[in-house]
Amino acid sequence: NDHSERMKKFKNKGKDAAALRRQRAEVNIELRKAKKDEQILKRRSISFSLMDESLSPGEDKRNEIIQLSLEEIVQAVNGSNTELQLQATQATRRMLSRQKDPPINQIIELGIIPRLVEFLTRADNAPLQFEAAWALTNIASGTSDHTKAVVEGGAIPAFISLLSSPHMHISEQSVWALGNIAGDGPLYRDALINCNVIPPLLALVVLLLPHLLLHEDLTPPLFQVGFLRNITWTLSNLCRNKNPYPPLDAVKKMLPVLICLMEHEDKDIISDSCWAISYLTDGSNDRIQIVVDTGILPRLVELMASPELIVMTPALRAIGNVVTGTDEQTQAAIDAGVLAVLPCLLRHVKPTIQKEAAWTLSNIAAGPCRQIQQLITCGLLPPLVELLDKGDFKAQKEAVWAVANFTTGGTVEQVVELVQSGVLKPLLNLLLAKDSKTILVILDTISNLFLAAEKLGETERLCLLVEELDGLEKIEALQTHDNNMVYRAALTIIEKYFSGE
């Protein structure tokens, strides 16, 4: 079915180019390890002895660190002695901040979460608020079940109100906790949004970046880049996840601030705000349009060329998502200069960058022939051919799609130019790829090339070229491929172009 769909496109050449664009989510199941270059969903705050001191200014330094058993903790937390409450909460937090195997489950099983949440409301006892917030942050950083325990303990409203705490470190810890909750998935993300998490978060940004409100004379009270990083990360988690997407009005509220954050000089802040944009663009065309309308594309393209991998990666993703959109949206990305940056990225040493860049290119190549022309004019063919020849396999697969789309939507002249740039040899070599889909796409591409050759009366020359480059024997060998569609596609080509004398 999938194939006949594609056949249709292939026969009605160029008529349904929009449908050629491939959205990111082809398969929701992953066999791979979670990618190292993905943004982190949840983070735990780990306590190093030194940082511990500096991060907890409220802590009573005279006190020796007291080891408590779990029973003692339960007792103290549930008791009414504030001093003991603080000690126990701190002990809990310490355990949860251990680098290796924090005992999250055991702590949850103690049933003290509602109590810890209650501590969050103790405006009179800032140290207790802080320790409770930290402990809960780390519980929320675990599995979905762990986060659930925190949310069901009623932590969401408590944390949201702490955002406006007069103590900077408490509000920062709350931002962090909320980030972990938002990162759990669309359900809690929307729960947060419904509890109005966004206005106080944005207010914090304004506080830290006062020039946002043009109060240039107002110097930031306490300029903490770490804090801003946390907020940006939390905002990005509020933009993250589909099914469903975050509500539109929430997105519209966050976008202007995110765009300002992209102008910051700190690379982590830029990175996370780019991630946020990449999530917002990973969706239907109307979602993409909202981002395009902000005029941020030129900045994103600029960031794509950043030397920092953590910036380049999400910027590339965002632009890659934009070009899955309509022809106009793709054109906006082209006008923002994406084609000038792509050659470098196609040649990048990191395979994942190569792959994303090739994917982006493949969606631009799925556009109308005027966009294909721009792609040629900007010199994208040589790096594409190089990638096809020598790139990492993941990138090669995407490059194959790029070539396939090019031959579907391109004019005969453009296809000729593609062939002249030497695409055929690496393309045919990839018929040995250990991936049925890639092989099928190549075979369809070869059919497209033959259609173009027929129009020029050059079928015979193409036949010879394919044979010379050892393509014929590879196609012949595919006639015994175990995948039915592959073998049929190979057979069709052989029968149509290589069976006669």
Binding site: K8, L31, P351, K390, F393, E473, D482
Partner: protein, 895 residues
């Protein structure tokens, strides 16, 4: 089971699933294999959703410690999982794989480690080792399947375990596992071969993660190659291993692993050269199984051979190291040639290897049609040809060192574009001479080489080798070619027959003196093979050769057609009578060719056959339809009057054929070919009574199943009818079927669809026909049809000026060829029985645009004022501009 509702009742299914695994595991190995297949068939339907406990059941058996049971489980797992190697990525598939990985990956890994340990504890127990190694092979295969779609997290985390063990298994040897069998691969070879595949999979797909391990594997595999013997049982392992090296050495970031001169030399010396040697098995194939040998050697079905793998490695290395590699090999070639020179009869294999090496080194790109098209410039091909190839072919005995003769001939064949023409001319008599060699390979290669040389193109698109240059050799060439067909083993040798065809085509009239003898030999051959046709290519070229003989001879002397008929009809009759299905379509084509050679009335011998051609049984076979239609067309062209006068009772039969053909979506165009010939050639009065019926049949088909192809043919037909019988007659016959029908046809079919007509002649017919409707059909001027006049003119101008509309409605993309009943001998068009395109309009109209202008002019003189007013009311501006162009070109004006 496929797609059909569940025919086995649910309780039985469940019972089977519950019992089949234990049953399989307790059965002896042979039955176990079959039950294991059964499980995978059921699994294809029910696994994983409807068979949730299968995996746990299987994994639990790993604990049993009984390797008979474990191997059963592994085999079943392999047959269940191997589809992951070829299926497309999909959510469903990946969900299944994930499920399998979660349940299976860890137990499999533990089993792998445990099995390896057991291998070392049982290192001295041959029978235990055999069982354990069978397990390891299956485990390695499962690894391949489970890692195929993507690199699973589990295997990435456990790469160290797997790769370290794979690596040590590659280097492992155990005397107890070595087999005496020379042919059949042993367990050790199979395991190592699978490990090479696994390493190649990782190298290709998961390069980033695999990089740290790759150099170790390169070294291990290369050492493996150096230490592996020449026996056939190692072939798969060796070619897999070499292919692994070949794929790695092309990668820029692994270049450094091969760069060192010593490494290169050692790869050339110890890996490539030994695997290029002509082995005992090759020699056997050369002598006893020449057909297979030729196919492998000539047609490149040698993908899995050692020689081929070695050759690929040479080409891979040349990507970065062409100079050094060529240098190293030149030394080898020279020393091997010297060895040969010392004692040819003992050392001829050295020369064979030298030739093979030169060939693989020199060829960078190759096609069947042109041989080598890109050569390594560092190799002097002509010099090698003159010094080392020609002397072998010049030697007095054609039967001495047959392998070297075959090598030499093959060298000419593949380097024909590199070797200068004068050298090729010197070689031709040598090749002709070798047609007499006893060795099948040698005389087949000689025939094939000649055939290839004769197809080479020179300047200005003539053949490179001319008939004049061949003049001195015509007789000996033909004699040797036909004699070669009498050599043992070559009586139906397609290469020789193809060379005969090609020689005729090149030599043209210089073969005429030999035709009597040639045609006798060909008819005898035909008679002989028609008893049991088995070589389709041979047969095809034989008929092509017959057609060429007819054409060439009759071109010079048309009367000679009679003597061909005399020679051939007897055999043809026998073929038709014995219903030799493979040959009948050919016979019809040759008969068409012969009939078309006649300039006068159709001979009575043909007329006697005519009724038989209309027999329905002949039309049942799809392969017969095109040549039979063609033959009937030839009858109509040459004998329409005779049919009308002497065989009028056969006209309904003829129309019956037409009726049958247009009823089928696949063959309707053939029906129209026939109908068009009837309309064009039959005297009108002889078909008068059938005309209305014909139109009704066409309308019925149009109503029942309208396809683009049918409409196109229909349009051509009605316009041809209009040309032949006049526009008025066309209008009358439509309107006689149903009032106002003509208008409907114009409005619903001609005007909207005419743009789809394809083909020069077809378009011309339509243009002239429509011009007639516009200008010679009074009802178009003064009835309700008048409103269609301008749209029709506009459509005609569109037909002239716009690109053809080649869109096909979606629903027609996948028309089933529903009326092709099963597989039947397909129709093979004979190139040399070809028919010139027939233009029924012919000289009557040269330029249809001018013709339109002139006709309009005539119309406007008949009714002044009308035409310009019709034009100005609704013809669009662009069309009007074109029309003015036509009028100008015809120097006429409209009144």
């Amino acid at each position: 089971v496929e797609d059909e509702p569940n025919k086995i009742c649910e309780s039985d299914r469940i019972a089977i699933k519950a019992n089949i695994v234990p049953l399989m595991l307790s059965s002896p190995e042979q039955i176990q294999k079959q039950l294991s297949d059964a499980i995978s068939i059921i699994g294809r339907e029910d696994f994983p959703q409807k068979w949730p406990d299968l995996l746990t059941e299987m994994v639990n058996r790993f604990q049993s410690g009984d390797f008979h049971v474990i191997n059963g489980v592994l085999r079943t797992a392999h047959s269940l999982f191997k589809r992951y190697r070829h299926e497309f990525k999909s959510n469903e598939l990946w969900t299944e794989i994930k499920l399998v990985l979660d349940a299976f990956a860890l137990p499999l890994t533990n089993l792998f480690k445990a099995t390896i340990e057991l291998c070392s504890t049982h290192a001295n127990d041959a029978s235990a080792l055999k069982v354990l190694f069978s397990s390891l092979i299956l485990i390695a295969k499962l690894f391949y399947s489970l890692n195929f779609q993507d690199l699973p997290e589990f295997f990435e985390d456990n790469m160290e375990t797997w790769m370290t063990n794979f690596h040590s298994l590659l280097t492992l040897d155990n005397k107890l596992l070595q087999t005496d069998d020379e042919e059949e691969a042993g367990l050790l070879e199979l395991l190592k071969s699978q490990i090479c595949d696994n390493a190649a999979l990782y190298a290709q797909k998961y390069d980033e993660e695999f990089q740290p391990y790759l150099p170790r594997f390169v070294t291990a595999i290369w050492n493996l190659l150096v230490t592996t013997g020449q026996e056939v049982k190692y072939d798969l392992l060796v070619s897999n291993a070499i292919q692994f090296l070949a794929s790695v050495c092309e990668r820029p970031h692994y270049k450094h692993l091969f760069e060192d001169q010593n490494t290169l030399t050692s790869i050339c010396e110890k890996v490539i050269v030994p695997n290029m040697e002509f082995r005992a098995a090759d020699e056997e194939a050369f002598e006893d199984n020449s057909e297979e040998y030729i196919r492998r050697d000539l047609e490149g079905s040698d993908i899995d051979t050692r020689r081929r793998a070695a050759c690929d490695l040479v080409r891979g290395l040349c990507k970065f190291f062409e100079g050094p590699v060529t240098g190293i090999f030149s030394g080898y070639v020279n020393s091997m040639l010297q060895e040969y020179a010392k004692n040819p009869s003992v050392n001829w294999k050295h020369k064979d290897a030298a030739i093979y090496l030169v060939t693989s080194l020199a060829s960078k790109a190759q096609t069947q049609k042109h041989g080598i098209t890109q050569a390594n410039e560092l190799v002097n091909l002509t010099e090698f040809f003159v010094n080392h190839i020609q002397p072998d072919l010049k030697s007095a005995s054609v039967n001495e060192f047959p392998v070297l003769k075959a090598d030499g001939i093959k060298y000419i064949m593949i380097f024909r574009n590199q070797v200068p023409k004068e050298q090729l001319l010197v070689s031709i008599p040598l090749l002709i001479n070798h047609l007499q060699a006893e060795s099948i390979v040698v005389h087949t290669y000689a025939a094939h080489a000649l055939e290839r040389l004769f197809t080479m193109r020179g300047t200005n698109n003539t053949t490179l080798i001319t008939a004049a240059e061949m003049a001195p050799f015509v007789e000996v060439l033909l004699t040797n070619l036909f004699k070669a067909l009498t050599l043992p083993g070559s009586s139906e040798n397609e290469y020789i027959m193809k060379a005969i065809m090609r020689s005729f085509s090149l030599l043209q009239e210089s073969i005429i003196p030999y035709i009597p003898s040639v045609i006798t030999q060909l008819t005898q051959k035909l008679l002989a093979v028609s008893k049991n046709p088995s070589k389709p290519h041979f047969n095809h070229y034989m008929f092509e050769s017959i057609c060429l003989s007819i054409r060439i001879t009759c071109k010079a002397n048309p009367d000679a057609v009679g003597s061909f008929e005399e020679a051939l009809f007897m055999v043809f009759t026998e073929i038709l009578q014995n219903d030799v299905q493979e040959f009948i379509p050919y016979v019809f084509q040759v008969m068409s060719l012969l009939l078309e050679m006649h300039k006068n009335e159709i001979p009575s011998s043909y007329m006697a056959l005519f009724p038989h051609l209309l027999q329905p049984v002949l039309w049942e076979r799809t392969g017969n339809i095109p040549p039979l239609v063609r033959l009937l067309q030839a009858y109509l062209e040459r004998g329409a009057n005779t049919i009308a006068s002497a065989a009028a009772d056969k006209i309904p039969g003829l129309l019956g054929v037409f009726q049958k053909l247009i009823a089928s979506k696949a063959n309707d165009h053939q029906g129209f070919y026939l109908l068009n010939s009837i309309i064009e050639h039959m005297p009108p009065e002889s078909v008068d009574q059938y005309r209305k019926q014909i139109f009704i049949l066409l309308f019925q088909r149009l109503q029942n199943s309208k396809t683009t192809k049918f409409i196109k043919s229909f349009l051509v037909f009605i316009n041809l009818y209009c040309i032949k019988y006049g526009a008025l007659a066309l209008q009358e016959i439509f309107d006689s079927i149903q009032p106002k029908m003509f208008g409907m046809v114009l409005e619903k079919i001609i005007i909207p669809e005419i743009q789809k007509v394809s083909g020069q002649v077809e378009k011309k017919i339509c243009a002239v026909g429509i011009t007639k409707i516009l200008t010679e059909c009074p009802p178009m001027m003064d009835t309700e049809y008048t409103k269609l006049w301008t749209p029709l003119l506009q459509a005609l101008i569109g037909l002239f000026e716009l690109p053809e509309d080649d869109t096909i409605p979606d629903e027609e993309h996948f028309i089933d060829i529903e009326d092709t009943p099963g597989y039947q001998t397909a129709f093979s068009q004979l190139a040399f029985a070809g028919k010139k395109e027939h233009d029924p309009v012919g000289q009557m109209v040269n330029n249809p645009r001018i013709h339109l202008a002139q006709s309009l002019h005539k119309l406007s003189t008949a009714c002044p004022g009308r035409v310009p007013s019709m034009l100005s009311t609704s013809l669009n501006a662009e069309a009007l501009q074109y029309l003015q162009g036509y009028l100008q070109a015809a120097s006429v004006t409209l009144l």
